[in-house]
Symmetry: C2
Subunit: 406 residues, 2 copies
């Protein structure tokens, strides 16, 4: 008997019929003798509907109140799914984030999970109940409702799996696994049966939409066995995200190409080159809860330095505003940027032992006359920032050169 | 400076525009130097939409899970109203039932408020904030979400007013006050400027839709000054529900005619006449959380007795089921009933000192050839159960005979 945590996204629970389908799928796992904890998102379209209501009132809705409004989406789904389970004879009980509670920090719309209380859940599992938990939400120490941001239900599922020491955490989506790249861009893209946690972490951080980055981080930290699979295809085993040491895998050099359109570059030029200046610039960005991704610093003219960094595209205007407000501390000559850039990344555990991957990337892009604006590397990935108009061209060329279609 | 609790129903917050209107109204009260606590319902149509989703899955949705689903309606409204207030410069903070908390018993869908914790609210009021509370909901001792039943937001408002010792509790609806009877039935019906608490209690218990009965009971118990008024008409003072000793009122004999279509009669005939039999019958009905209204007991044939009582119409089938299940205790000859009956009630504080009101009612109905099936009286009201087809005729005749159009 295994304990399985399953997460169903908005599309999987997007209608009464689909909720009933999910209930039947859960019942099957239960009948096989498993304990099942389910995490659900809001019915597809619901979060956007609620957001539209809020934005009709405030262009930038108050974050605390927006979380109050948005968190209702998942709350509706948990109730309905429990009814659907009970209707087919499966005992089930729903939990909102605060009922468990899933404790988070106080950052509305982007809260991080700090703890999960499993006392009630363990009791329910002992009584044979399926537990249905509202994803995407938690509660802070003031008793305020928080949300984890888009895709946060994945993180809720992994956090529950970690706390409950689940045997597997299954993320059901509308795709059937992790691909070598986005099949809409490269039709030859192939589904991977297995991928290591480290590779997945890079892919997620690079904008692959299959899993939210924080859920992969969590999974890595607590050694949660993750599987991505489709709620529509019954026969497909999806993609298992494994720990290198756990599994026998024949490592290829490169396992996937990811890209991220949610990028904007900010340039801060002609900053006096003195200690603490990076902190002045990036600290103010961090204080505004904007996540910085790639960072480069160049020597500029006359003892000045030039900074460039990337931020999520919807934080771009806000980032410029924050920096302009700090000009008396920064003393930059110019603050500008570009929000028509994308990041393309080549990921593979094999890069550790195979030199020359980076230079092959640069050569491939040069052959296609694509200018590289920024470069960032880690042990197992190389990312480049390029003009967004070259996204498809670059991805196809790299997918081919690393023979991912084979 | 006064502390005012205001409650806005679903119609008053039924669209973004109406929520903005409510925000402006609240701002006006705030600018006049008042502290304001607001209780809101779900946007009109929302509770029915959620109920339809639930009923598409379970014909009789699980009560615990249904409360989880339904309570989201008010939660959306509190967030949106706070945004609307903040947008026009009024600091505001929202609270769900569990955040306050509003503690209730465990009876899902019909929970009763046991306590209101005012610690956080008092702090917020001190800080000048408008508090916006989700009506209709609370939390039980297990941390489960409960709802108070339809119209429960009125009760939430009165409970908050009682706990906070508010100067006035204003119930905004789509009618501009309490009328001598339903103007849709009798066009000559008149709005009452004042009505005593006792009369209002009778009217509410008799099916007048203006206020929920429990809210009036609460108001009476804790001496909350209640006012019913329209959120659409600015100039109208509505109807103040007063305590007899507080105000100078020229009492008329009869102040209003109420009717209640939500009635069904249950007949339990030929029951062995022995002690405890009433308990066997009515106790099992109470255990099923069905409220009994009128009760009569007659001597039947051969040492048996006949019971008749009325229940809410949507509990009628359930009541019959419950009684049939208890037949081995009850030993009734027949268990049947009729769900096409209505209760018409004549209410007035002046009835205390004016004899002959009851006989005038009976004469008026007899003159119209309307058969009276059950009678129930209190100090200040006379109710009769009649065939529902005579509802309009009876109400018009009684309204005229007591000169309520004058």
């Amino acid at each position: 008997m295994a304990l399985i945590v399953q997460k169903y996204g908005g599309t999987s629970v997007g209608s009464i019929e689909r909720i009933q389908n999910v209930a039947r799928r859960i019942a099957k796992f239960k009948q096989q003798g498993n304990d099942v904890v389910v995490v659900v998102s809001a019915m597809s379209g619901e979060t956007n509907r609620l957001l539209a209501l809020a934005e009709a009132i405030q262009t930038q809705p108050n974050p605390r109140e927006l979380d109050v409004v948005l968190s209702t989406g998942e709350q509706v789904t948990i109730g309905l799914l429990c009814m659907a389970l009970q209707e087919i004879g499966v005992p089930a009980k729903s939990y909102t984030g605060w009922q468990i509670p899933i404790s988070t920090d106080k950052v509305h719309a982007k809260a991080r999970i700090e703890d999960v209380n499993d006392a009630k859940l363990k009791q329910d599992l002992k009584e044979g109940k399926v537990i249905v938990v509202a994803g995407f939400q938690g509660v802070d120490e003031n008793g305020d409702i928080t949300t984890l941001g888009r895709g946060g239900s994945d993180t809720s599922a992994v956090a529950l799996a970690a706390k409950l020491k689940a045997d597997e955490c299954q993320i059901y989506t509308d795709v059937d696994g992790v691909y070598t790249t986005d099949p809409r861009v490269v039709p030859e893209a192939k589904r991977l049966n297995k991928i290591t946690f480290e590779e997945m972490l890079e892919l997620a951080s690079l904008g692959s939409k299959v899993l939210q980055i924080r859920s992969v981080e969590f999974a890595g930290k607590y050694h949660v066995r993750l599987r991505v699979l489709s709620s529509l295809k019954d026969e497909c085993e999806g993609t298992l995200i494994t720990f290198e040491e756990d599994e026998n895998m024949e490592h290829v050099v490169v396992s996937g190409i990811a890209f991220d359109k949610n990028q904007a570059r900010v340039n801060v030029k002609g900053v006096p080159d003195r200690p603490g200046i990076a902190y002045n610039i990036l600290g103010s960005i961090a204080d505004a809860n904007i996540e910085v991704d790639m960072i480069i610093q160049n020597v500029g003219e006359n003892d000045t330095t030039d900074f460039s960094f990337t931020v999520p595209r919807n934080d771009y205007q806000n980032a410029l505003k924050v920096l302009n407000a700090e000009q008396d501390k920064i003393h930059a000559k110019t603050i500008d940027g570009d929000d028509t850039v994308v990041k393309v990344s080549v990921v593979g555990l094999g890069m550790r032992s195979h030199s020359g991957v980076a230079s092959q990337i640069f050569k491939t892009l040069a052959d296609e006359n694509i200018n590289i604006q920024m470069i960032s590397t880690s042990e197992i990935k190389v990312s480049v920032l390029i003009d967004e108009k070259y996204l498809e061209l670059a991805t196809r060329a790299l997918h081919e050169v690393f023979q991912l279609d084979k």
